[in-house]
Symmetry: C2
Subunit: 203 residues, 2 copies
């Protein structure tokens, strides 16, 4: 068996509050059950083209509810959160930086992802900007100039497109989306089922 089959595949969009909430918890869940986390940033916009959905904040009734639900859940879970003025955003630049970091500093992916999420959902910074995202990652690896170039690198563009295509092939349509031993779980409200699945080997 390859080690990769035992990884927790964690798909998330950088402009997803529930992706952020889950990112703060998934490593601890993996540690509890001796599983690595495979960090998979993707573009939810690519999935919406397939499902025919709209970005959540723009859906009548559901959008307003969701804003309230995100704030309430952040309070219940004790996670700092403030809905940014610019919401949602396109997450191409931070995604490409994380896929670059996967090769350049694989052990620091979680740290980088949480820094980007906190910059956006706590400090309100626009991480869709290559300069902003590059500055954040430069505290971990690389110079700002080098990292801005990464966000426009054809190889990283192709990599992100491939990851989005593969995600959709696997059925990923929302954020967060977690796959454990082939079993898919959508939403931070399925983390209890993820844990139960890891504990029992399936139910």
């Amino acid at each position: 068996m390859q080690a990769s089959t035992n990884e927790i595949e964690f798909y998330f969009d950088f402009s997803s509050p529930f992706g952020y909430f889950t990112a703060t918890k998934i490593k601890a869940i993996g540690d509890e059950f001796g599983r690595e986390v495979s960090w998979k940033p993707f573009m939810i916009a690519a999935a919406l083209k397939v499902t025919g959905g709209m970005p959540l904040p723009m859906v009548p009734l559901k959008g307003e509810y969701s804003k309230r639900d995100m704030e309430r859940t952040s309070r219940l879970w004790g996670i700092p959160y403030k809905q940014p003025d610019k919401f949602p955003i396109s997450s191409q630049a931070p995604c490409r930086l994380i896929y670059w970091l996967q090769a350049a500093a694989p052990d620091r992916q979680e740290e980088a992802i949480l820094k980007l999420y906190e910059a956006y959902f706590v400090q309100g910074l626009d991480i869709s900007s290559p300069a902003v995202a590059a500055q954040i990652i430069s505290s971990i690896k690389g110079s700002e100039e080098e990292l801005i170039a990464v966000t426009q690198n054809p190889e990283m563009k192709a990599r992100l497109k491939d990851e989005c295509d593969l995600a959709i092939q696997k059925g990923v349509f929302g954020s967060p989306y977690i796959i454990v031993d082939g079993e898919p779980f959508w939403g931070s409200d399925r983390l209890d089922q993820v844990q139960e699945w890891l504990r029992t080997g399936g139910f």
Copy 2:
């Protein structure tokens, strides 16, 4: 303060598996906190006209996932469940019967709702049929003939329409949807937050 302000408002569609799962639990939650349940069957199709959504089983990727998620959740929660061949259905007839029963036998609403849900989601009966729904309710109150007439009664038609309009005015867009002291909660996966809200008076 009127007693009604303290009720747990429970909105659900008869063709919603998560509405069914929640219906099996909501009365016990109310009892735990000394709250009555106000049973509010409504037509999710009316809400989808506002949100621009599609019935869940028809959404690409999400529909297939949801089927799996419903079955998995039923196993985890120990609730008998089998996705009916005809799914989803229009729930006009069972909704009208429940609003009739609200006056005719108010103390037996929960029993009637669970009987309808089990007929559909366990036995696979087509409860969108007035004859089928009437037969189920006749074990509680009224003759089958009388109850079939109820499903076509102009007063009950108007009542259901009013309830759907009011639900949408309140922001209800999905099933189950629960309102506690003005705070809205969507989905069976928010029952933990409903309980926490009842326990703490808000967080």
